[in-house]
């Protein structure tokens, strides 16, 4: 026990220096926070500034037109992006969700560790690599670029994302519910479906949405798979347009109005991703209530 009085200890402690340290800490955190928000603000501002003018009804209803023809649009790319996204969800969500269920509900420590490690490695695989692999495995045997291969490339990218997040939300379901269900003599698979997944379903939908938002803007996986299309896609085995591909093609072209349309496409793409993220926020907010 110290015998110094409170007052004496307080005086010893250098107040000014502590205040300066505190101020430095606070201001650098605020500065860093601003640095995070700033780029987002810049991107949004620039996209609106450059792209808003090119957005009109025709942009959403027409297919691309030759340069100089001003009533061209990106309708096929918008629809194509949704088709690809839907296909990716069909491929990636079931595998990711089932994998996450395995990790959380079955699995043993060793195997789980291996699976998590693989998922993390897969998550780090550059998207162009996915493109090349799907090209070799699907595009070449099918003799052509296609919606199917593009969707699968995106879906494969979704799997590790959905898997890890699903596992996280399932682990959060309190064990007491599993125990209560076990004690009622309910079968294991029913407990998982009707109790555990039912309790965490919003988190799982969020996982799929977040992964979807993440891959919606991917260009590289589509380069050798979906390929792009200046017209409507006519079948699963046909090339399909996608917003990121169209933006890329227009942005590297030499034509001023195509450049403007590329900006508009980027704005629409960001808009979609934004909407997905807002709905995620909405869902997670409701979960807390």
């Amino acid at each position: 026990m110290s015998t110094t009085s409170l007052l004496a200890s307080s005086r010893q402690n250098n107040h000014l220096w502590r205040k300066i340290k505190n101020w430095l800490m606070v201001s650098s955190s605020i500065g860093s926070a601003l640095l995070v928000i700033l780029p987002l603000g810049l991107v949004l501002f620039y996209l609106v500034y450059k792209g808003a003018a090119a957005i009109n009804l025709g942009f959403f209803t027409n297919v691309p037109a030759p340069p100089g023809d001003t009533d061209g649009g990106m309708a096929n790319a918008i629809v194509g992006s949704f088709l690809l996204l839907g296909m990716a969800v069909l491929v990636g969500a079931p595998m990711g969700i089932l994998g996450g269920i395995y990790l959380s509900e079955y699995g043993n420590e060793k195997l789980n560790g291996a699976i998590r490690f693989c998922a993390d490695v897969l998550n780090g695989v550059p998207s162009i690599v996915w493109s090349i692999i799907v090209y070799e495995v699907l595009v070449v045997p099918m003799r052509g670029y296609s919606l199917l291969s593009g969707g699968i490339a995106l879906g494969l990218m979704m799997i590790p994302l959905v898997l890890r997040t699903t596992e996280e939300v399932l682990v959060l379901v309190p064990n007491s519910y599993r125990e209560a269900a076990l004690a009622l003599g309910i079968a294991r698979w029913q407990i998982i479906v009707k109790i555990v997944v039912a309790t965490a379903y919003k988190g799982i939908i969020t996982a799929v949405l977040v992964a979807g938002a993440r891959i919606a803007g991917e260009t590289a996986p589509l380069l050798f798979t979906a390929f792009g299309n200046l017209n409507w896609c006519t079948g699963l085995n046909q090339p399909v347009a996608a917003l990121p591909l169209q933006i890329y093609a227009y942005a590297i072209s030499a034509y001023e109005d195509w450049h403007r349309q590329a900006w508009a496409g980027a704005l629409v793409l960001i808009g979609f991703v934004f909407i997905i993220n807002i709905s995620v926020r909405f869902m997670t907010r409701e979960r807390k209530a």
Partner: protein
Amino acid sequence: MVPKIMKDEVAAVNNEEENVQEAATVSLDVNDLCLWYGKHQALYDVSIKIPANKSTAIIGPSGCGKSTLLRTFNRMHEVSPGARMSGKVHLFGEDLYSPEIDPTILRRRVGMVFQKSNPFPTMTIRENVLVGLRLNGVRDKKILNERLESCLRMAALWDEVKDHLDRPGTGLSGGQQQRLCIARAMAMEPEVLLMDEPCSALDPIATMKIEELITTLKTKCTVVIVTHNMQQAGRCSDFTAFMYLGKLVEFDRTEKIFTNPDKQQTEDYITGRFG
């Protein structure tokens, strides 16, 4: 003028009273039960005959293995990683640990209520009560509705919830939630109801309601209740088992345990002289 033969019968009855553990139908018969969590032994050679349609309290200081013993009655301990056991448990003469026994089927006949009430958060009051039946394939509306009402009445919850059966079960108060869990367990019409400190998170009034319930419940099934509250054991049990450090010290009629226990250890614990 009592005929001699009648006298003998009375004597026999008195004798049974003395030896009631022998006389009553045994619901759970536990023999030389040992249990380990990994290297740590949690139960040592527990043998106990739990009488049917009575309530039996398991008391003892925390960590002495009460919950562990309870969970061997519906094989819930098998969920804990590293748990191993030896010995036998028979439910009305059937070996619970025989290799052909499916623990899922067993658990429909031995229900359990936990320390923390745990109604399923995605389900309404009605769904919570009926979930066990529904997921085990009962579709008949009439049966389900009857069971819903009878179990909620049995849990003394019917009057409080009958007008909003379709509200979420988690919207109820703590005590109501725990009674909902009792109704949920009773919906399976179990032969034994295990309760692991069902009142330890409840206020005295909610606790009293659950204690009163036990009298009703034991007309339907055997009740085994773990508690670290001795007054509670005294109030709501016919038999009491005292455990200490993983061993069953003494098991007898509750009055006997509380007034005139055979073992010094029991007496010390009951009188609060425990270290």
